[in-house]
Symmetry: C2
Subunit: 284 residues, 2 copies
């Protein structure tokens, strides 16, 4: 059996009891390590499981899937995914490949940032589609996310923005010289995301991500040192939420009073928050 | 500390290792038992935890929250929620009340149907807002969900429909005679939901939930006997997915080929599925 097991969001103890049992008895244990990362190191997982954990980077998952699936028709293979196995499309693809080989599969869902973001107090019923934000470079500032946010904004819905992570990215200069050297991992912060949204807004000018729009930044959701900060995009562009992983929610106008009361507790400046809420958001 | 602990979707072993540790040491353990139910009985949980579990029904959570929170400033209280603690707004409310009493709170997220529905192969990025479907009666057929579905449909997005459950509902006739008698629990099925959607469509006539629209029904997500059935609403209105809990996804037109390939495996009739997909859905 091929098991895709969600590890949850924070540390080695967020795996389910059922998942842990499977990991302990599986023939091989892989850890998908490029769509998200756990807040603990691989060594911590290995010590906790009492098992060797094979890191499956993007290259391995995309080009050596046969190897990962090998023998899964007879023995148990565990493929660990930070968060929930189905939050990233890549894993759906993987299950399709397993099916084609007549390998039985089983998914163990777990907490995902898509629902973990409920820690902000914003109602998950009031979220529209989720978007991703990639690192802008000097000459590449993709703004396709903006149109999706716009669709959510038009309906008064919140938008969860998932932030880019760069793990095991080759250094392009070295690559040009025929050598593979990996860049250090990079994780986008709430501040960087807010800044990029303001940048896109300045270019597009449709008032979707203006700097006075309200948003909430979250960091290390589900962990002991989880942080939540609410404010305008301008305020969040200055906020420091510490270590990864970060995510951001752009607040929609449909926010009701209970959501507001909850989020307000995390405001950088409650007065500013109240004023902007009264001016732009309150719909009743 | 007041802990709201997600139990995940299926059975007693879907709790996280961290959650189980807290449950075992908590002073009192409550189980919220009205927004969702686990697929195992309370007694199974009690045996597994080695602890007494107090059932917290809606009445208790809404009117006796002080009792539940009592002492949580000094000892650990565990409040168990099927799925993820933040998927139901009620629990946000609870945390606000705890805050007002200066009781420290901690949330342990877990799998929710909001992400578990990824088992259909539909990309979670392509979902719009989630809606709820209540049991229609002869003279009460609330159709407000229809407008929200319409918003999603206009954007080509999928809609997750969460189905009504009735637990510990008083019998109205007995109540009129001054006696409290509880009705047996009821759980809406995929077939009932599809039927109700067709009914609303017949009344509204805007083509949002026409009987030839594609949808996917899921039952017991995350459990060994999980079931997934795809087809038109008309086909799903005849489908039997067995025991609770059921949910339904109305498929949006933005569905891409990989999603389609995955979902198609579960089609009642692959030919019908392909034909309708080609006719109404394919956008490339």
């Amino acid at each position: 059996m091929f098991y895709a097991i969600g590890l949850g969001l924070a540390d080695e103890k967020d795996v389910s009891v059922k998942g842990l049992e499977i990991i302990k008895r599986a023939e091989r244990v892989y850890l998908e390590a490029y769509t998200a990362v756990l807040l603990v190191e691989k060594e911590v997982l290995e010590a906790y499981y009492g098992r060797e954990v094979i890191i499956a980077d993007r290259e391995m998952v995309e080009s050596q899937s046969d190897e990962i699936l090998e023998g899964a028709d007879k023995v148990d293979i565990a493929f660990l995914v930070v968060g929930d196995p189905f939050s990233a499309t890549t894993h759906t693809d993987f299950i399709i490949r397993a099916r084609e080989k007549n390998i039985p599969t089983r998914i163990l869902p777990n907490a995902s940032i898509l629902t973990g973001v409920g820690c902000t107090g914003l109602s998950l019923y009031n979220f529209g589609q989720t978007v991703s934000m990639v690192f802008f470079t000097d000459n590449w500032k993709p703004a396709s996310y903006y149109d999706r946010v716009k669709e959510n904004v038009a309906l008064g819905l919140h938008t969860l923005v998932l932030l880019d992570i760069k793990v095991k990215e080759p250094n392009l200069e070295a690559l040009a010289r025929g050598r593979i050297v990996y860049e250090p991992p990079r994780f986008m912060t709430v501040a960087q995301c807010a800044q990029q949204m303001i940048e896109t807004e300045e270019e597009k000018g449709e008032g979707i991500c203006s700097k006075d729009r309200l948003a909430v930044g979250v960091a290390r959701v589900g962990a002991d040192d989880q942080e939540i900060v609410a404010g305008t995009l301008e305020q969040l562009a200055e906020a420091d939420l510490g270590k990864p992983l970060h995510s951001l929610v752009l607040i929609g106008k449909r926010m009701h009073d209970m959501e507001k009361d909850y989020v307000r507790e995390y405001a950088v400046d409650k007065k500013v928050f109240d004023d902007i809420f009264a001016k732009h958001y309150h719909q009743s």
